[in-house]
Assembly symmetry: C2
Homo-oligomer: 468 residues x 2
Amino acid sequence: MANVTALPRNEDGIASVLGVLKQQFGERFQTGASVREQHGHTTTWLTNQSPDAVVFPKSQDDVAAIIKVCATHKVPVIPFGTGTSLEGHVNAPAGGISVDVSEMNAIVSVHPDDLSCVVQPGVTREQLNTYLRDKGLFFPIDPGANASLGGMASTNASGTNAVRYGTMKDNVLAVTAVMANGDVIRTAQRAKKSSAGYDLTRLMVGSEGTLGLITEITLKLQGIPEAISSARCVFPSVDAACQTVMQVIQYGIPVARIELLDAVQVRACNAYSKLDLPEQPLLLLEFHGSDASVLEQAEMFGAIAEEHGGSGYTSTTSTEERNKLWQARHDAYWATLQLRPGASGISTDVCVPISRLADCVNAARARLEEEKFLSPIVGHVGDGNFHCLLLIDEQNEDEMTRAAAFVSWLNELAISMDGTCTGEHGIGQGKMAYLSKELGQETVDMMVMIKRALDPDNIMNPGKIIAV
Amino acid sequence: MANVTALPRNEDGIASVLGVLKQQFGERFQTGASVREQHGHTTTWLTNQSPDAVVFPKSQDDVAAIIKVCATHKVPVIPFGTGTSLEGHVNAPAGGISVDVSEMNAIVSVHPDDLSCVVQPGVTREQLNTYLRDKGLFFPIDPGANASLGGMASTNASGTNAVRYGTMKDNVLAVTAVMANGDVIRTAQRAKKSSAGYDLTRLMVGSEGTLGLITEITLKLQGIPEAISSARCVFPSVDAACQTVMQVIQYGIPVARIELLDAVQVRACNAYSKLDLPEQPLLLLEFHGSDASVLEQAEMFGAIAEEHGGSGYTSTTSTEERNKLWQARHDAYWATLQLRPGASGISTDVCVPISRLADCVNAARARLEEEKFLSPIVGHVGDGNFHCLLLIDEQNEDEMTRAAAFVSWLNELAISMDGTCTGEHGIGQGKMAYLSKELGQETVDMMVMIKRALDPDNIMNPGKIIAV
């Protein structure tokens, strides 16, 4: 495991808060070792730092009560959705209380005429989409994991559909949150646009629980398209695939998804999902629109792909075939882990201007080969965002050291290309070292000033994003 | 004129700053009465509050030097683009220095492969689009006025194309800004998405110059569509037009523009722009896409409009006819002023969830009739945003009082419909009273905390958005 910094614990404060919350929450307050460990970080290579207790609020009033007690005693509050984040966001480096919002999972209201809805933070994206299906609506953001919408908002998640529908920032209209001082704020009304004061909606989205705990989210929805078709196309090289993507975006073809899987990833998916895709760089696509528009998009894509040596191009509107293809894409993480049983996966998350995508992917691939790392590359390439998933034996110190060096090198390469170390996973604990390299110390200082102003005692998810 | 609050002046500080800037900037520093008055607010009913001097920086270093001098002496800095904002944004209620960025008008770089560019804040949207035309690119945000991009970012402007392309918030990738303490920050890299820390980009966009002065903006661009067609359709009532709009949005027809002009507005446009449109509620539309897609969109719209009693539906791809129609739309403000020569126009700016649009427009129309105000209604109705432009004799105290009461009533009506008092003009001085009604005092308090943290001496555009 990669070490993460422990922060000073306020033992007296923690003891007091444990006493108060136990009394207030009874069985919805737990201190068992396994529950605590489940609520520390378990899905990444970062060391687990368990909270001192886990509390399960059922309402905004519960959350406000918890935060007020923690504020009084200056004890950390760590928001917890489903625990699928990747950069140590739910770790408790200074101990404190994990606030698990899984029981705050009500879909509060759906407004079909306005294409919007209001949900509690524990609602997962699959839960929401199942609920919306017979209304002809869907929520497009799809980070792969069945994450909670509160967690997705907190890390500004995106995923495969972002090339067309944007990220959480583009799809959250408003949030209600309990702030560090116990105040409840609502950042915006439900109108589609507003110029009313500072954009606290987008300040909260992506703030990783470090400013407040989101208790309600107003989301934009989309109508389920009249037609959906999927397509796949193999390429002689990653470079050819990237060139194709660049041209598709420049031509303004409104692709709903355009995903790159490199040859290693295709091999893993074939084995895991019982497919027989050619083991070459592959683009998976999805087109949304009217029947005619979907057909036109597929044809335009085909023509561009052919220019770049694409072959085996097939598209389908069959729901069954479509689902099979996208299930394989979603299972890519699990498929990859099977390539080296017992190994841990370390995911990178760089995002660069699309003109630099091929350069960045090629450089990453070359260094992976050089270092003899087993690692597929998979990417939301329409946005210039891709992930390497390094398979590492955590017991092997040399591998761990070289993996850390690779992650660092790739982050800095992306930054040097005017890109970011994190397209969608967030900073958490894992990427704190890169934030000032990316944005400059003066910019990070502004973030620190905001954090200190809104959370002077640093109780909200301390040790994430910025050192305060 | 409607009174605006004057704030205490720091006379000693102002005198010192005038001396220093005069020496540093020579002829680019002006204190003549007419220049100062031009840089106070002149296009609205709010009283002009002129700055003590106007300075014309040519570079970010100039801006940093100005802000540092003003910070040292605690003197207000009021950013100025083209002066086309509508809520007193460029007034100087505590005196101070207007920083006119019109000479910072370089297009720094264009990245056609990435569909992005970097501009200085004084570049106007027409200047940018003229420059981009032969590259096959355009910047879609169009608030009507030929505003500066720095000003558009500062007020989170939008306009006719926002229904398809979003607002400034959706189209600014990053800004560089000089903050109140003189630090220069860059809020993001040029990658299309990022989850790297607090979203300072969107905090700066819409902050109306109250946190810092934007010196560089990275914008998303769009490819000029293969085909563009315009259409118009008249309706028996505003309600029928609004119902049509609602259905168009729900069906997901990707209209690029969908604008409502009520009968009064059509009459004004006919007279001013020498048109012969039927003087009934009118929708003006624009479709962008491939030839086939534009045709399909126009047909789908026609079918929906017909269901709601739309008639006289015509669409055209002729550039000349298209320009004539949209020029008339853009001249609506001037056309309206001609309805009552000598009168002043007072623009409202509410935006509501689209399901409430017809109710809100109808209520506004009814009260305008009741009060016998001459006022067209024009709206970016695909977003639920519309403007009444009340024609008022500013010398007539009764009219002024009743106009103020109307504006107040409409803002509160929109807020009661889960909407906002400002869809795109911003809060400035004119709407400060409504911000806490809209978002609650706790939310406004958070904005105050952020303002105090980043600008403790309140030198950046004081007296706008929030009282500090």
